[in-house]
């Protein structure tokens, strides 16, 4: 945005939103997923201990994956920033409204991205992800209901227009298409062991015991 404000560092996103982004909008899903997500069940891992080799071989976090993620993120940023910019160029949109669109687009995008990569959906995960999106909407509405801030009522004004929602939908889908496409092709044609094991768990283990709901035996 700095390129379009004559390099004067105006922020389109309100200061409050910038702060709340890390605190409310996106921290909770990350924490919940980090704690609770699980790719394989205990039974599968005990059956094929070689699956732990993936961690030892750095299959989920290595240099190549890092750069791929950087490029994916770059694309997503470009989509989130430029779609509203061009859609609203030379229109009568004001700074606060466009800032609200950017704020909401970013939060929806990162949460849907996370949702795409999750392995297991507990009710807590649902609550964290969809709850964060709803919390963001609520926070933006509250911030825009304070008359002493210059952006008063901007969200309600722009959310009334269909162009706003069309931008939001277009950004979310368009930004995530490259990630999704790469994911499906890699998952289908070059699956890693963990992916195969997950599929086996779901589709082939009808006779494998489902009594995983037992206590851990003490290691004696």
């Amino acid at each position: 945005y700095v390129l379009f404000t004559g390099f004067t560092l105006t922020t389109a996103i309100t200061d409050w939103s910038s702060m709340l982004y890390s605190i409310i909008y996106t921290s909770l899903p990350t924490i919940v997923v980090g704690i609770l997500d699980k790719d394989l069940s205990r039974a599968t891992l005990l059956k094929h201990p070689q699956l732990y080799g993936a961690g030892q071989r750095n299959e989920s976090y290595n240099g190549k994956l890092f750069w791929v993620t950087i490029f994916d993120t770059l694309w997503q940023s470009i989509a989130v920033f430029f779609v509203p910019l061009v859609a609203y160029w030379a229109s009568n949109v004001d700074g606060s409204s466009l800032g609200d669109l950017w704020t909401i687009a970013v939060v929806v995008l990162v949460n849907v991205h996370l949702a795409m990569d999750l392995f297991r959906w507990y009710w807590i995960t649902h609550a964290a992800i969809w709850g964060s999106i709803i919390a963001t909407f609520v926070c933006v509405m509250v911030i825009d209901a304070l008359p002493f801030l210059p952006g008063y009522w901007a969200f309600f004004h722009i959310a009334d227009t269909k162009l706003f929602w069309m931008c939001l939908l277009g950004i979310t889908i368009g930004a995530l298409i490259p990630h999704f496409v790469v994911k499906i092709f890699v998952q289908y044609y070059k699956p890693n062991d963990i992916q195969i094991a997950r599929e086996a768990e779901k589709f082939q283990d009808s006779r494998v015991s489902r009594q995983v709901q037992i206590e851990m035996n003490p290691i004696s």
């Binding site: 004001d94 002493f148 008063y152 009522w153 309600f156 499906i184 195969i196 003490p218």
Partner: protein, 348 residues
């Protein structure tokens, strides 16, 4: 014996330290474990393709239906040539800053297609950075709302006090630079009335600007930045001011001037008499008069329609590609033969 006792005691104390089992701590909560099967992927892409393409097409058709007339008048409405020389530049500035010259200018516009009311009249400014950081900060919302808060002119420097140290209401650079070109329209000799009510946001009129706050000492310093305000009309009814105070997000922007409440037929000639008062010549900005109809997506803008069609097209293409590759080289899901240690037994 004693060691046996000790072992017994330690094993029982070990047992008591074991944490209680709970499904949460053992990550055994009931969960949904979706996996992307080929059927699901194909269905998803086809669905996206067949919904996005029609949405994109309807966007484009709506944008096509918008009839828009744009007329750039800052170059022609000034009796100085448009060369980029220093002399011409200074002459333009001198002309526009001279309060004594009559700056009216008449332009003729031809309506290309029938326009249904309400027809919106905007003024468009290009290269005007209403989003400049110091400009955006230069306002005091408390002063605009509260009649007792006249003296609150924080952040408004230099437009906060006049030469007699009296506070300026409304203070700040945003209000000071209020656009002051005026337009009057006529068709075939009959004047076309412009509705200038209801152009500002309702929320601004009721909550942001006070109904008892009147302009005071406005434009009373040495440099005049724009329009003067009628001191007997309270701020919340000065709709041009309210529209201007909603600072634009981007350097090329339009602001609503008024509405034409009658239809305009194709090929009608509209005569516009413009008072070319506003100085955009110092920073080489552009001024344009825009007359436009609107549709459900707003003004004329093809971009989002093209984005939707592109995304929809890509989705269909991916769906086709995936289906064809799936038919050529299917992989059974979960087949243990594909596990890496099974594929390559020699490396075990």
């Amino acid at each position: 014996m004693s060691s046996g006792d000790a072992a017994l005691q330690s094993s029982s104390s070990k047992a008591s330290k074991k944490p209680t089992y709970s499904r949460f701590t053992q990550q055994e909560l009931p969960a949904c474990k979706p996996i992307l099967t080929p059927e699901l992927i194909m269905a998803a892409f086809i669905f996206l393709g067949i919904t996005f393409i029609p949405i994109g097409l309807s966007h484009l058709s709506a944008s096509d239906h918008v009839v828009e007339l744009i007329d750039r008048y800052d170059e022609d409405c000034i009796p100085v040539d448009n060369s980029n020389s220093e002399a011409a530049y200074n002459k333009r500035i001198g002309y526009i800053q001279d309060v004594k010259t009559d700056k009216t200018c008449t332009r003729t516009l031809i309506v290309p297609k029938k326009m249904k009311h309400p027809i919106f009249v905007y003024y468009q400014l290009d290269d005007f950075y209403q989003n400049h950081r110091r400009y955006v900060k230069s306002r005091n919302d408390e002063q605009y709302r509260n009649p007792a808060a006249d003296h609150k002119t924080a952040h408004c420097e230099p437009e906060s006090m006049n030469n007699d140290n009296q506070p300026i209401v409304p203070c700040g650079l945003i209000a000071w630079s209020l656009f002051n070109d005026t337009y009057s329209f006529s068709v075939n000799g009959n004047s076309l009335p412009i509705n200038k009510k209801g152009i500002a946001w309702e929320s601004d009129k009721t909550h942001k600007f006070g109904s008892k706050v009147y302009p005071k000492n406005f434009q009373s310093r040495s440099l005049i930045g724009g329009a003067k305000l009628n001191e007997s009309i309270p701020l919340n009814q000065q709709e041009d001011l309210l529209v201007w105070m909603r600072t634009a997000a981007l350097p090329n922007f339009r602001k609503l001037y008024g509405r034409i409440e009658t239809d305009l037929e194709a090929n009608e000639m509209i005569k516009v008499v413009i008072n070319n008062n506003y100085n955009t010549y110092t920073f080489k900005g552009k001024k344009k008069l825009v007359i436009s109809t609107t549709t459900w997506i707003g003004g004329k803008n093809d971009f989002l329609g093209k984005v939707y069609i592109t995304v929809g097209g890509i989705c269909l293409f991916i769906a086709v590609a995936f289906i064809s590759v799936y038919l050529i080289r299917p992989r059974p899901l979960g087949d243990p033969a594909y596990l890496s240690w099974n594929l390559d037994p020699a490396s075990n």
